[in-house]
Amino acid sequence: MARLTEFQSKELLRSSGILTPKGAVGATPEACGEIAAQLGGTVVVKAQIGATNRAEIGAVRVVSSAREAATAAREMFEATEAAQILVEERIKVAAEYYVGIVMDDRERCPVLLASASGGSGIEQRESTIHRISLDVLADVSPKQFLAFTIAAGLPEDASLVLERLWRLARRSDARSAEINPLARSENGQLIALDCRISIDDYSVFRHPEFGIDFARETAAPPTELDHIAWKLESDDYRGTFFFLQLPRQHEGWPLIGFHGCGGGGAIAALDALSRAELEAADFVDTSGNPPASKVYRATRIILSQPGITGYFLCGSGMASQDQADLARALVKAFREENLEIPAVLRLGGNGEDRAAIIMQRYAAGAGAAIETYQKEHSTEFCVSRLRHLVEANKQTPHRPNLGSAGEMRAQPPAAYSFETRTGQIHYEHALCKLCESKACIAACQPDILKLVDDLPVLAISAADAKRGRCTECLACEEECWNQGNHGATIDFPIAGLLAYRKEHASSS
């Protein structure tokens, strides 16, 4: 996530000339023991996790030998999700201050915060925090920092720390950077004992040096499935696919695979689910006009969660993106999944009539109860239908299909194949030959197919198709399955998904 670890944050502080305790991170208890041995004497062992109450949960401990450090580290690796543990020298503290940079959405500028009463529980001492707005277009002078430092009741030498912290935040595109406590050690140094820096999610691309592999603000560390989804989002800039697995809040409630379209509509749908005592397994937003291929992959990822007992797609009901794209994506994913749990889909907005036809065509022959609604039906109504269907369904909860769909397959023999931006399309001409409809040609939205010898082929170069002229709308496959001879198949692989499904099938 875009929050840096304490150690990463401290490295940034050091590179900006702010003092931090001597220390290093270890990835094993043994490595942590060695670091402690090198430091000598009393050390602090700190799990590198996002929680703010580390001391309370035993994720920060003071120990006095290398062996104790290794033991403490082992316990922390077991008890927390920490991948790294920081071991650093213990600083004897004479006074504790708080300094930070956060964003003020009212003033639309960064603000500098400082309190002479730092340390844990600063949130409860809000009244001690002094604040001043920073101008992003002007250089803030050392004099201004000094005046603020004095006004906030901090020692004068803290002024330089504040100035350096601001420059560092700016340079790193940080949306927040806080040092708490900034300590006066017994030997008179100002030293940052703990630090949290969070990089703006939308600026992460400018900072490969941070190695951020998941640019989303979350409360818990990202799951394996979150990572698979993030990879998909970061590899395909067309439209948004926002995916987060949510921590379970109500054990007794039926678990729903949730698919929101549009951020606001998705939040409102989540509220409606909760009012009906249905628990969303995830929070998803596909919007901003993504290609059908991206929505298909999103659906596959949502359906990779074992134990869900229903599927709910819902947007604001007034989407400007073509709802038929969504419908084709859902149908392909449901068909490949052989979906057995009920699904309620609120496909409202442009192209909603066509979308409803596509869904109903599939639903008529499907094993599961699938209901499609349009903008006239409220989110609340759709949720009540879902609740009803989930209760009426006597089937077992969802088990992700372990077949090869969603993998890139070897080219079928005797198939005409071409590559798209993110996948491959195959037309098995032996089947196409016997097809009377040739529905794929008319269905193709970008109009890039033609018939040669009565068989579908590209009317453009293969290179152009791969460059994006094929918009991955899925229409050729969809129409081929309805009117044709099932000669068209499309592969849109998702890296790591099948392995994930297999692993989680055996463990559940």
């Binding site: 959405d105 603000e217 948004t240 989540l270 604001s316 907005g349 609340e380």
Partner: protein, 296 residues
């Protein structure tokens, strides 16, 4: 005088030759917006649906100005320089469509606009529409869908979500109420014009009799509207729907602004703020129109 846009306003489209710029120019023209010029580097001299294209804002201004509004369809990382160009040229209202804009780019745009006395709507906004008069941005989809979905009336809609804003306007129209304007302020945490500033525009707009807020968790925008209500600066009735009652703290729900942090921006806090200022907060979306109707 309608809020922010009307058919007399002269509109510049920056990034007019891109896929979105082209598509939305078509839509704005069809709906009745007076698009008078476009910009695109190295495309000067071309035309898009009869609209002349210039290489930069300064050239466009000289040849086809003045402009009342610039709507920017340039994508995220490049949007800052486009916005700065418009600010430097003194165009009084900038509508910034780009999403996923880097934070400090937005902060710089806001600071520069404030200094120059220029209003910015967005980033990550779908824009603004005054039904049957003019649209700037993409709210409403196509001219055909916008005409079918949006109808004039006395409710001024302010939304932090593009889709939910249209949904609210659609519902209000379906119930025979209609909207004076629909303004999408954008889903980011740091934005130009915020809800309370738009609310002041509706307060002064004779066509608006009720202010409808489509809010959500995160930021302090709904709270600021409540503050103005308490201060007597907003006296028209306010009806709000706030998304995120079931949201968990510390999680960003897709929109950059939809996150509860440090206990701020919660559903409960916003509901309390608006209700204590005399506003109505509806529990579910379908109740929205009924609540608005009570004030008419």
């Amino acid at each position: 005088m309608p809020v922010l846009v009307d058919p007399s306003k002269r509109v510049l489209v920056q990034g007019i030759t891109g896929r979105e710029g082209r598509l939305r120019t078509r839509y704005m023209l069809d709906y009745g917006t007076r698009v008078v010029a476009g910009c695109a580097p190295e495309r000067g001299g071309q035309e898009v649906f009869g609209v002349p294209v210039f290489a930069d804002v300064a050239t466009a201004l000289q040849a086809a100005g003045p402009f009342d509004i610039s709507v920017i369809f340039v994508p995220g990382p490049a949007a800052k320089s486009a916005a700065m160009e418009a600010i430097d040229s003194g165009i009084p209202l900038i509508v910034l469509i780009a999403d996923r804009m880097p934070l400090y780019d937005v902060l710089e745009i806001c600071a520069a606009a404030k200094r120059a006395g220029i209003s910015v709507l967005g980033p990550n906004t779908a824009g603004v529409v005054v039904p049957d008069q003019a649209v700037v941005g993409l709210v409403g989809g196509s001219a055909k869908s916008a005409r079918g979905w949006l109808h004039p009336g006395p409710a001024g809609v302010i939304s932090r979500s593009g889709g939910m804003g249209v949904a609210a306007a659609y519902e209000l129209g379906r119930c025979g109420i209609g909207v004076s304007a629909l303004v999408h302020v954008g889903g980011d945490a740091i934005i130009g014009m915020r809800m309370h500033e738009i609310a002041c525009l509706f307060q002064n707009d004779p066509d608006t009799r009720v202010i409808a807020l489509v809010g959500e968790i995160g930021t302090s925008q709904e709270e600021q509207v409540a503050e103005l209500m308490k201060a007597g600066k907003i006296t028209k009735p306010v009806v709000a729907h706030i998304g995120g009652r079931s949201a968990q703290s510390g999680i960003r729900y897709s929109h950059a602004g939809a996150i509860v942090e440090r206990g701020l921006g919660t559903y409960a806090g916003k509901k309390q703020a608006i209700e204590s200022a005399g506003g109505v907060v509806v529990g579910t979306f379908p109740e929205f129109s009924k609540a608005v109707q009570r004030f008419l």
